[in-house]
Each structure stands twice: as structure tokens, then as C-alpha cells.
Symmetry: C2
């Protein structure tokens, strides 16, 4: 049984192992600084599909399939698929789930979905309700722009605070503790609360999400008695340039100082400044693909020893936006660690 710590955190008694992982992205992401690290770069953003929604669904399925393949397993050996995306009614993951034939639990935490799926997956494994689960998330620039902002064909200008939705998917296969040796394990889960500072600008998601990131990091450190120095990296999902600066400011107000070299924002890592992505990458697929292409490999290689993965989401819809509602943010945190079992 897990140990409850403070108000929002659980320390797992049997931390699940990361058995395999995969990240698949689009052309622009492949041309970015992490380009050589992805399992697949789809030069054709349609993935040969007839519309963007099917393309994203294929991207989601590609990441899940490669992840299961890399563990030398078949889909039917995976007990559950936990995942989500940004599309209305989770179209990408629901339709991918139909093709994959794995029992499916649909999750929605906006861009925090990759962390949410890792948390829920780890908690399910802790109780022995599954032996292997795949946790996954995806986003696609073209489906997101169409759904949340403007038709691409309009060529609408974007303000500097806008972020660029990543075309990408990541999948992580978690299993109950089984294999000896050096393993990457998920040790703590911190479930976040929605936090709303009244931001109403869908072109400034970083500002909407930073307060939630601050709240969850603060809760995690308070609950566990840890300090930022206990982590090689505190990884945020997709705060981008504006949100990251705000996060450090908010953390300082809580008395928490995170050294810049100890913070990595996935949204600031996936594109180079030359790629014209304004304030950085965003979307469920941003933190999902950076986790699976860069962070989990660096944990496996021993370059990183312990990280706190804090994906952040903006819980808005176009309807609530049109109705004048502000954008609540949410962030969930998973502590990942390399250890000898």
C-alpha cells in the first residue's frame, strides 16, 4: 500500500518500472534541437491520412505501437491503455484505441495529460489491478489550430506570447516492479488542483498554466519534505518563455528558489528560437515527446538520477472562452528516479 504524504502526494510502495517508451513527431519537431532523438519523424504531417484528426490518431497509435514493440511485447500483453489528447471527445486517442484493441481509460488534463496518465497508471499498478499499462498522449498542430484558434488557411498572425502546438505523441510502458538491476521507476505521484488566476487570452497559455505548476510543485515539495535540490531537474510541460518566467517569480513568492539549470521546460526545449515558434511548444504531445525522447533516455543512461515531471494543462474550451470564462490551469507531478532494484 502506498504511503499518503501531506494533502496531495502518495509515495508508492512498489514503484512501477518504465519498461519502454517511444516518441513520434512531425516535420517541424524533427527539425528542432531534439530532432535526432525521436523514434520517428513523420515528414508528412498527414501520416498518409485523409484528415488531420485521423493523422493525429495515427500518430498516437504509432507511439503506442512502437513503445510496446520496443519491450518485445504484443498489444494483448498490455492490460490497459491510459491516454488522451486535446481534441473534442478525445478523438485521437479514442480512435487509436479502437485500432489497438487494448482496454482503454480515456483521460483529459489538457496539456497535463501525459503526467495524468503516468499518475493514474502508476496508481493502478500499485494496487495490482494491472501488471502492465501504457500511458500516452498526443497533440497535432493542425487539429489544435482548427479546433482552438483559427483555420490555418486564414494565415492569422500570432502574438509573441503564443505557443506552437507540437505535432507529437509519447507513450510509456509501465510494469509492476519485476526486473532487477538499474531501473527507472516512478516513486511519487502528486495530483494537482485546478488553479485560475483569471487569464482569458488563449494566446497566452503559459501565463494561465504557471500558477498551477507553482501550486503543484509547492505541494509536492511540502508533502514530501524535499527541496528542489533533491531533483536533477524539475521539468515543466509547456509553460514556454512567458510561463516559465512567471513560474520562477511565483515560486520565489512561496519561498522556493529553483536554479535555472535545474529547470527544464519541454516547450522551450523542442524548438529552436530560429523556428519561429514564438513563446515555445505546447500541447499534450510536447511534454509527452520530450519525456520519451530526451528525459527517459537520459535517466536510462544515468545522465539524470531523479526528476520531477510536472506537465501543465490549460482547461479551456472554445465555448467557455467565447462565454468570457477565464482559463483554469492544472498540473500533475510524477517523480521519476533511476535506482538499483
Amino acid at each position: 500500500m502506498a504511503e499518503l504524504m501531506g494533502k496531495q502526494t502518495a509515495k508508492l510502495q512498489h514503484p512501477p518500472q518504465v519498461e519502454s517508451f517511444a516518441a513520434c513527431v512531425g516535420k517541424k519537431e524533427g527539425e528542432g534541437p531534439l530532432g535526432t532523438l525521436f523514434d520517428a519523424v513523420h515528414r508528412d504531417d498527414t501520416l498518409g491520412q485523409e484528415n488531420w484528426e485521423k493523422a493525429e490518431s495515427a500518430l498516437f497509435a504509432d507511439a503506442v505501437t512502437r513503445c510496446i514493440d520496443k519491450a518485445g511485447l504484443q498489444p494483448q500483453q498490455v492490460r490497459m491503455l491510459l491516454g488522451g489528447d486535446l481534441l473534442n471527445q478525445l478523438a485521437a486517442s479514442s480512435f487509436a484505441g479502437r485500432e489497438l484493441g487494448i482496454p482503454l481509460l480515456g483521460l483529459f488534463g489538457a496539456c497535463s495529460t501525459m503526467a495524468e496518465s503516468l499518475l493514474v497508471g502508476a496508481m493502478i499498478l500499485e494496487g495490482g489491478c494491472a501488471d502492465r499499462v501504457v500511458c500516452a498522449a498526443s497533440s497535432h498542430f493542425c487539429t489544435a489550430e482548427r479546433q482552438f484558434r483559427f483555420p490555418l488557411e486564414l494565415g492569422t498572425q500570432r502574438p509573441p506570447s503564443a505557443q506552437w502546438t507540437v505535432t507529437g505523441a509519447g507513450a510509456v510502458l509501465l510494469r509492476s516492479m519485476a526486473q532487477d538491476g538499474a531501473q527507472t521507476v516512478l516513486t511519487h505521484v502528486t495530483v494537482g488542483k485546478p488553479v485560475d488566476y483569471g487569464v482569458t487570452d488563449a494566446n497566452n497559455m503559459g501565463a494561465a498554466m504557471a500558477p498551477a505548476a507553482c501550486a503543484t510543485i509547492t505541494a509536492h515539495l511540502r508533502d514530501t519534505g524535499r527541496s528542489p535540490e533533491d531533483y536533477d531537474l524539475i521539468v515543466t510541460g509547456d509553460l514556454g518563455a512567458v510561463g516559465s518566467e512567471l513560474l520562477h517569480q511565483l515560486l520565489r513568492e512561496e519561498g522556493i528558489s529553483v536554479a535555472p539549470e535545474r529547470h527544464l521546460d519541454c516547450g522551450l526545449s523542442i524548438f529552436s528560437p530560429q523556428q519561429d515558434a514564438h513563446a515555445g511548444g505546447s500541447g499534450c504531445g510536447c511534454s509527452a515527446s520530450v519525456l520519451c525522447a530526451k528525459l527517459l533516455p537520459e535517466l536510462a543512461q544515468g545522465k539524470l538520477r531523479r526528476i520531477l515531471f510536472v506537465a501543465t494543462g490549460a482547461l479551456m474550451s472554445t465555448t467557455t472562452g467565447n462565454e468570457g470564462e477565464s482559463i483554469p490551469g492544472i498540473a500533475h507531478a510524477a517523480a521519476l528516479e533511476r535506482m538499483m532494484i
Copy 2:
């Protein structure tokens, strides 16, 4: 640790207890056969809010708050809120979550969301990652019509196979086994797979969901070695008249015969034929409110001893519908039982 049974089911070693529950509905539901059983009937479907989305969010929050109240607790004594709704980006539950201040895990299984939340909540409790969770779901006729079908103002005619989205919300507080005496507990979880028989008609959701209900019921009975006679009731979410008939036909093809008196469809229970709801009720709030207004009270009173709660969802979006995609269904099952602890 739970015991894995077959491919899709887990038997919980420490079945969580249903500590309290609440159901809140709109005017039409209050005028139906279950009208006197709900905790609150909101005669004003707007709940005093300025738009339907805020109304649904208020309905969701009302059910959760009443549920926590009925257990004599405060929201901060609940470790997590697990829930969802049909709105794009889960607007109803996300915004309710913002008001309630409880750590939130957003779930989406279309109209199967109430079962999904019970399953995930029970699995989290099994591992000791929480001591108390609230599982909830909502839907609202006016938000659903606007989002999925036609503006209400058009007065569009509905075919006889169409179902009526329930304005309703249900919430269940689950706690780790703690209290002695007669208790309603959740003993088994069966996670469903998306199943698609090629139905493309958004006015015939029952037909889209019946194959998923059949698949999950079949999997549950096969995994557990139980027969339909082991349950006082097999409860489906919102198959309605068309889907229920189809379910019995599909089950017979699997060699499973469920006596009509042993099957209850929430969609066929919530409205009377005189209420002009065509093939019956639907929406996440349908199975959620019938569970919390009728089934859990009957378990508490000893009128029911053991039920299989199988909420069903149609994983469609308007975008995928417009793109010609068929509607995958999904169903998740929770076995609920009254027992002496």
C-alpha cells in the same frame, strides 16, 4: 493487491465502500418515474447561471457537494475528485473542479464516464494512493444538443431512435474499507475496449453502444466465471429501447441469456413513455443519476444484493462525424455488492 482475472477484470482485495452518494437533475427528470428519489430537482434548468455550460458545471458541483455533505465531511477531506462530462475539454467538470478545490483527475469515456470514474477511483483506493475519492459525472440536455446536434432554437425533429440527453449529475464517495457492518462495496472492475460496428448515426447511439456493452458484459462473466444469475441486476447506462433490444440479441449470439427482469437500462428508467423522450435517456448524467438515486439506495436498503453496473459511451465527436467516421462504443463494468464487513 488485487487479483487479476482473465484479460480485463481485477478482483479487489480491499473492496472500497460506498460512503455516500447524491443525484441532482433537471425539471424533466424530476417529472419522470424516479422524480421523488433525487436529492435535488432543479426546476430552473439554468440553475441561475448565465449560460448552459455554467449550469451544467453548477449541477456537477451540486452533486459532488451534496455527496460530501451527506457523509458529514468537508471537501478538503476528500483526496481526489475523478470525473468528467460530455462537453469539449470537460468544461463542466473542469470548472466545477476549480470551485471545489479538490485535486482533480479528468476522465472521458463519453456516457460511460460514471463507470470509468468508479473503476479508476476503486483502483486508486486499492493501492492506498488515496483514502477517500469522489467519482462523478454530469450531462445537460441543452449543452449536449448545442454541441452534438442542432441549436435548440431550430426545433429540429428527432427520429424515434434518438435519445434524450439527461440533465443530471451523480456523485459517489468511495473510501478504503474502514467501517464494519452492512456496507455497499465495489468488488470487481472490468475495463472495456472500444468496439465499433460501423454505426454512423448520431441519432442512434444505442445501436453504437450495444456491441460495447455486450463485449464488456461477456468479458466480465468470462473473466470472473460468473453467470447473469449471480447478479440481481445487470445495469446498462443508456442503451435506450433500440440498444437494449440489440444488446440481448448480441448476448444471445455469445450464448448468454439475460432474463428481461434481470436487466435494467438507466436510459429506459429515467423517463416515462409519456415524456416524449423517444428511445430513452442518455448522457453521462443518465447512468450517474439513476445509480445514485435508485440503485445505490436499493443496495443500501437490501432490496438489491449484487449488481453489475455497465455504463456505455459513444466515443464520437462532431468533427469525426462530419468526416464520415463511424461511432466506436465503450463500456466499463463495476460489480457492486451489499455485504457484512
